[in-house]
């Protein structure tokens, strides 16, 4: 029996220049979900609605059984949220913030907080306004992680970080998963991070969720065929074909529904299969977005 930590049903929000439409999301307890989208696609808006910081115009949001935004105070006890547009108090020190958070949440783990301080190379005596961007992000993450919340919602946690800091953050993220009941939802437009540590992946573009599936299935379903089409032979358009490019004779076909029968189908039609390559999450995302945008435009 799988536990659903977070569920969004038909969520929508209207802004003057942007609309979030019909967002459906299901996040199981104990998993890591990566939320990928271009800038302005609606990732941050969705996460804010999830936290109850923004009230949706349509749809239902449930976190650990609590309805958002009505029961947000209850739900937020178990959620750690970090976002770029969330700032700490510049004139106070990191240590002050740590005491502040510790006084509010019973789950605060002082030993773990100290460990993260060393790991992230942060000094509690330093004032927040004296920290660099990367250090500030790590400070916010520390305050969220050290509480050991059941759910971590992270809006672009690695964006803007140098490679070393990025690695430290991913490590801390994975460490948090040692506890099987912990769940993580993080957004990024860095597909490599998502590809590496996510169990589930959701794509969002222009305010709509365009795909949501478990990562390995994603990577299995998408393939790129390099085909040689002899003159006089017609290239069949097989189900699941997302895009066709290349020249008339050397076609490159991207498919989202790969299985072993496809190669045979091409061969039977007289088309020779030069190679079948798997695609990186980045390539899958870009292909998916392009095809969905064309669909909407058509």
């Amino acid at each position: 029996m799988k536990n659903i930590a977070v569920e969004l049903k038909g969520v929508g929000k209207d802004y003057p220049h942007f609309r979030l439409q019909d967002v459906n999301l299901k996040l199981e307890t104990g998993t890591v979900m990566g939320f990928i989208g271009a800038n302005g696609a609606g990732k941050s808006t969705t996460l804010r609605i999830l936290m109850g910081l923004v009230h949706q115009d349509r749809g239902e949001v449930t976190v650990f059984g609590s309805r958002m935004p009505q029961q947000q105070a209850l739900a937020k006890r178990d959620i750690g949220y970090v976002s770029e547009d969330l700032r700490l108090y510049g004139t106070a020190t990191l240590g002050w913030h740590m005491s502040y958070i510790r006084s509010i949440y019973p789950g605060w783990d002082s030993a773990y907080a100290a460990h993260l301080c060393r790991h992230f190379d942060l000094n509690p005596a330093q004032k927040i306004k004296g920290l660099s961007t990367g250090q500030r992000v790590k400070a916010s993450l520390l305050l969220a992680f050290a509480r050991r919340p059941r759910l971590l919602v992270l809006d672009e946690p690695t964006t803007g970080l140098d490679p070393v800091a990025r690695h430290e953050v991913l490590e801390a993220l994975m460490e948090a998963m040692r506890d099987e009941s912990r769940t993580i939802l993080f957004s990024s437009h860095n597909t490599h991070d998502v590809e590496q540590i996510s169990d589930q992946i959701t794509f969002i573009d222009r305010g709509r969720v365009i795909e949501s599936d478990d990562k390995e299935t994603f990577l299995d379903r998408w393939r790129r065929f390099r085909l040689e089409v002899p003159p006089g032979v017609c290239l069949p358009v097989l189900p699941g074909t997302v895009a066709t490019s290349g020249s008339a004779r050397l076609a490159v076909v991207t498919t989202s529904r790969y299985d072993d029968s496809l190669a045979a189908a091409y061969t039977q039609a007289g088309v020779s299969v030069k190679s079948v390559d798997s695609m990186t999450l980045e390539e899958i995302f870009v292909a998916n977005v392009h095809s969905k945008r064309e669909e909407v435009a058509a």
């Binding site: 804010r48 936290m51 910081l53 923004v54 009230h55 947000q72 105070a73 209850l74 739900a75 937020k76 006890r77 959620i79 750690g80 949220y81 976002s83 547009d85 969330l86 700032r87 700490l88 108090y89 510049g90 004139t91 106070a92 002050w96 502040y100 006084s103 509010i104």
Partner: protein
Amino acid sequence: MNYPMIVHLVRKDWQLNQRAVWGSLVGGILSLLCLSKGTQLSFFLGVTLLVTMLIAIGSHLVISMVINEHKEQTLAFSMTLPITYRDYSAAKIAALLLSFLLPWTTLFIGAIAVIMASPIPDGLIPLVVVMLIEILVNICLMLSVALISESNGWTIGALMVGNVGFNAILFFLANQTNMGTTMQSPVAVWTPLAFGLITLEAALIVAMLSLTVVILGRKTSLI
């Protein structure tokens, strides 16, 4: 209402702003010393300094606790805590009032004490009481406008309206009403006008703050 959390938030706001409050208290006490000198010059200097101190700390607190939280995005940080926006608003109002009332009450009592102890005519007391409460009304106006509009511009506008109002009311009371004469007397004269004004001011404060809480409860987006 999550009272433990509200206490946390109020304490947090106090910790971040206490230096400014202590500073204003020092300035305020200096103004009282000035007042107590007894000369006409020291009287005006003292009064000006006193009023300035109160308005300065009041507007500083409103801007620091409310407007800056929007600008510097620390409001979002507070909202990730297990609270509702209602808790947050209530905590803000409580934090501001408690922080402001510290210097305000001290200088209120101090001013009356100085007037009674010094050669300054005690007849001034009702006027002083009315005008000091008027400052409190102005600060509450600023607070309400800041919380509802989230805008620095509107808040400064409220400050200006308040200041003009303060001076207009003072002028009116001193020149057009019987307060102008009673304030010269060596004994404090409490007229129905004075009581009426104080009641009106108290009602205004309660009305503004209640309206603010109601309006804030309807907000659907905090960022």
